[in-house]
Amino acid sequence: MIKKDAWSKNEKIFLGLLIPILLLFFCFNTLPLLKGFYYGLTNFRGYGNYDFVGLRNFADLFHDVRVGKSYLFTFKYAIVMTIAVNLISLVLALGLNSEIKGKNTLRGVYFVPNILGGLVVGYIFSFIFTYILPAIGAATGIEFLSNSLLGSTRWAWVAIVIVGAWQGIAMNTIIYISGLQTVPEDVYEAGMLDGSTGWRKFKDITLPLIMPFVTINLVLCMKNAMMVFDQIMALTKGGPSQSTESISYLIYNNGMSGGQFGFQSANAFVFFIVIVAISLFQMTVLGSKEEQL
């Protein structure tokens, strides 16, 4: 008979480690989510009294023009960002993984943007976009540069993509490099003898073998891009004329100072579900492409 009541030592250690994490997760993730849902059911303005309004906030979300615009912007941003970041970091990783001099130093340099805070990078780029690029534009007579990108309703979002990508590429590149290092050298060598070089080598051997890393990168990048906030805070504050207002920024701005705490709580709750759904979708679709090695 195996004793069922006594916890084994391993199980105790396991629980000892797990329970604090679960508690923390509950306090800082689950609880706010539930509270958010709760406020989403009210007309709370962030101060004063409030009443329950049922699911009205949730229904209103679908008719609100500003919310709709912010979804459009966020998706446009996230998709462009994910594609750009992954293409660029894959190319960088391929370069940094080949036999070149000083590649360890270069890898370090490429990782620097990741350790800088989003706001810091945002303000640095804000300075570049507002003062340096227009100055260069004026000096060289290039019209496109002489007005700040940030001031244009058409181009401001591109500026945010540039800053977001500059930061996001670092992590993705590192993940791709570690992925590339999992491909055994002799498989490439077999490919070389079979006549697989250049693009074919990449398409037939490299890409299928790093597919798990592509999945991680696409999911992480998409999720981060969907939640874009710091860059907008630092660069445009959602402007000009709300053309770069992301969902997170709208929630923060109108929730905190716009008297829409209840409404934006509902927005945040729905947004959470959207992100989870997108991530799950990506993982299922890409997971089926991952080779079962």
Partner: protein, 392 residues
């Protein structure tokens, strides 16, 4: 047709601090180091005939793989010429050399099925699907892997994977087939079985083989000719019989043959134009053949290293002129006994056929006892103190 000529081939790995070949454990071999770098292969000369089976053999780190990889084009050639069918191919891309290779760790494409793996080289040649299918199925038939064609390599055993790797190599009918220790990851039984299959395979396909191994049994059984290497230098090239009967030096003598050849310090004597060797009190006259060869080389009387293979030692009666030693270990192998003895300060192994032993003799063989043995003049190998065979 594939005739391969290696002409003064050499490989230098530049001395780059901290840069090591992947998977290569830190080891200090006796490779020559010049200011250029480490000389992994020095002055390799070999003329491989069409459809010949060449085996490169030697201890770990002697440069076998490096040589093979230079032929494949996976490693640059630092000096000398590599010719395939009369054309210098030093700088020809691997894929344009019409060479296939079987790697030690199989190097299969993990994401493709067995069929996919075998089709891939053909696909790259833009072969018609029908012909491709036929070729793959033919090769699978030869190797007995037809039932695994739709599986991924992960779902195969080591032996099956190695067959797939061989299959992928032979589907495109390469002129040259290179194999780098293809059997070293298999267990002893499977290794013997695959060795036999490689011999059979060889009858079925028209390719020139270069096969790397550190296992002398594989070398002896597979090779038309064997190249024995040490520290990047070729020690001897010859048929299995040649290298066994006439090892060029003590290294080859010790490397080829199981158990190892016994080595003694002895004297070479010359009296009236007749050579004999003197070991302790025993003087043995060499056979006429050996006399002739030594004479031809104008060998003088000198201190020598005497080599004698375990199977060429016989037990002797005390009364006879004989050598003596003390039995340390006696291994009964059935038809023969392997005796390990200490004689004249050396570990000596002798193989005694039990068939020729009387009951009394058998009983006299026990640990700690003194034993008398002898050998005849035609089985002795005479090496100079520098290790070179004086007959060669």
């Amino acid at each position: 047709m594939a005739e391969i000529i290696l002409n003064h081939i050499k490989k230098v790995y530049p001395n780059i601090e901290g840069k090591k070949k992947k998977g290569e454990p830190e080891k200090k071999s006796n490779l020559l180091v010049t200011e250029e770098g480490v000389l992994a292969v020095q002055d390799f000369n070999l003329h491989i005939k069409d459809k010949e089976f060449i085996v490169l053999v030697g201890p770990s780190g002697c440069g076998k793989s490096t040589t093979l990889r230079m032929v494949a084009g996976l490693e640059g050639i630092s000096g000398g010429d590599l010719m395939i069918d009369g054309k210098k191919v030093n700088d020809v891309e691997p894929k344009d050399r019409d060479i296939a290779m079987v790697f030690q760790n199989y190097a299969l494409y993990p994401h493709m099925t067995v069929r996919g793996n075998m089709e891939y080289p053909l696909k790259l040649q833009k072969m018609a699907p029908e012909e491709m299918r036929q070729r793959v199925e033919e090769a699978a038939e030869i190797l007995g892997i037809t039932q695994y064609l739709e599986r991924k390599p992960k779902a195969l055993s080591g032996g099956q994977r190695q067959r797939v790797a061989i299959g992928r190599a032979i589907v495109r009918n390469p002129k040259v087939l290179l194999m780098d220790e293809p059997l070293s990851n298999l267990d002893a039984k499977l290794r013997n079985q695959m060795r036999a299959e490689i011999i059979k395979l060889r009858q079925k396909i028209d390719a020139t083989f270069i096969y790397v191994t550190h296992d002398q049994t594989e070398a002896m059984t597979l090779g038309d000719r064997i190249v024995i290497m040490k520290d990047g230098v070729v020690m001897q090239i010859g048929t299995p019989q040649e290298v066994f009967d006439h090892p060029a030096n003590t290294f080859v003598a010790g490397f080829i043959g199981m158990p190892q050849m016994n080595i003694f310090d002895a004297e070479l004597l010359e009296k009236n134009g007749t050579y004999s060797v003197k070991l302790a009190d025993l003087e043995i006259e060499l056979s006429p053949e050996k006399q002739q060869r030594l004479k031809a080389n104008e060998v003088k009387a000198q201190s020598i290293t005497l080599g004698i293979r375990p199977e060429h030692i016989t037990l002797a009666k005390k009364a006879e002129k004989s050598l003596k030693g003390t039995i340390e270990v006696s291994e009964m192998m059935g038809s023969a006994i392997h005796l390990h003895a200490t004689a004249y300060g050396k570990d000596t192994i002798m193989i005694i056929q039990t068939m020729n032993l009387t009951e009394e003799e058998k009983n006299s063989i026990s640990i700690g006892k003194e034993i008398h043995f002898a050998f005849s003049g035609n089985m002795i190998h005479v090496f100079g103190k520098d290790g070179a065979n004086l007959e060669a």
